[in-house]
Symmetry: C2
C-alpha cells in the first residue's frame, strides 16, 4: 500500500521560498553584474554603506548576512577599485571603518536607481497591501526560523 503523499513541493514553504529568492536574486544581479562588474557580495556591501553610512567590517557582516572572509575579500576588491576607503578605528585599532568614496557613492546611487526600478516592475502585479503583507510575513518567518534553529541546536548538544 503506498503511503499517503504528505510533502507537496508546490506548497512546501521552505522550498518555494528558496526557489523564488533564487530567481529574484539572479534576475536582479543580472542588472548590476554585467553593467558594473560587481558580485552580489560587493553590491550588498555598497548597499549597506549607502544606506547606513560608515560601518566596520563586522557590522557589514552582520547587516548583510555575509560571513567574515567574504566581507574581507569583497572589501579588498572594492578598495582596489577605489569604491570604498578604509580607516583604522581611532579608539579600537582592530576595527576597520569603511566608507564609500565619491566614486562608490555615485555607483551606489546608479545601481540603487536601477534596482528600485527593477523592483517596481517586479512588484507591479501586487497591490500595496499585498506588498506590505509580504514584508510582514517574511519578517515573521525570519524570526521564527531563527528561533526554531536555536531550539534544534540546543537539543543536539
Amino acid at each position: 500500500m503506498p503511503m499517503p503523499e504528505p510533502l507537496s513541493l508546490e506548497t512546501f514553504l521552505p522550498y518555494r521560498l528558496a526557489v523564488t529568492a533564487s530567481f529574484v536574486s539572479r534576475g536582479l544581479s543580472a542588472v548590476y553584474e554585467r553593467r558594473f562588474g560587481l558580485s552580489i557580495a560587493e553590491w550588498r556591501i555598497l548597499a549597506n554603506l549607502g544606506h547606513y553610512g560608515a560601518l566596520t567590517a563586522g557590522a557589514i557582516a552582520t547587516h548583510s548576512t555575509l560571513d567574515k572572509p567574504k566581507v574581507t575579500r569583497a572589501l579588498q576588491r572594492l578598495h582596489a577599485r577605489r569604491l570604498v576607503s578604509r580607516k583604522m578605528g581611532r579608539k579600537d585599532r582592530r576595527e576597520v571603518t569603511v566608507t564609500l568614496t565619491a566614486t562608490g557613492e555615485r555607483i551606489y546611487c546608479d545601481i540603487a536607481a536601477l534596482a528600485l526600478a527593477w523592483e517596481a516592475q517586479l512588484l507591479a502585479t501586487l497591490s500595496i497591501s499585498e506588498r506590505a503583507a509580504l514584508l510582514r510575513t517574511l519578517a515573521r518567518l525570519e524570526v521564527g526560523a531563527q528561533v526554531l534553529k536555536q531550539a534544534g541546536d540546543a537539543q543536539n548538544d
Copy 2:
C-alpha cells in the same frame, strides 16, 4: 546637498527575500544534515523523486533549480549510499532515469515527516489565509522575475 535616500534595505524585497530564504533554508537543513548526513542538494533530489517519482537527471535539475554538475555529483553520492538507482533510458540512451530505492524511499518519508513538522512550527504564527497569500505572492514573483530577466537578457545581446 545629500541625495534623498531611496533604497531602504529593510523594505527592499529582493534583499528581504534573500535573507529570509537563507534563514529558513539553513534552519530546515539543520534538521536533516546532522541526522541523515544529506546536503541540501541531496535532500532536494530525494524530495523531487519522492514527489514526482522516476525522473531523468535533466528533469531533476529543472525541477530543483540545481545546476547540472550539482545534480550529477549529488546523484553519485546518493547512488553510492544506495538511496537511488539509475537506469539508462531505453529509448534515448543518453538519458539516465533515476528512482528511489526502498531505502531511499524510507529516508525520504522520514525526512518528509520531520520537514513537515518543522514547517508547521514555522507557520504556526500565520493564519491559513496568510499562508495561502504568501504562496500565491511567491508564485507571482517567481514568474515576474523570470520574465524580467529574459527581457533584460534580450536587451543586452
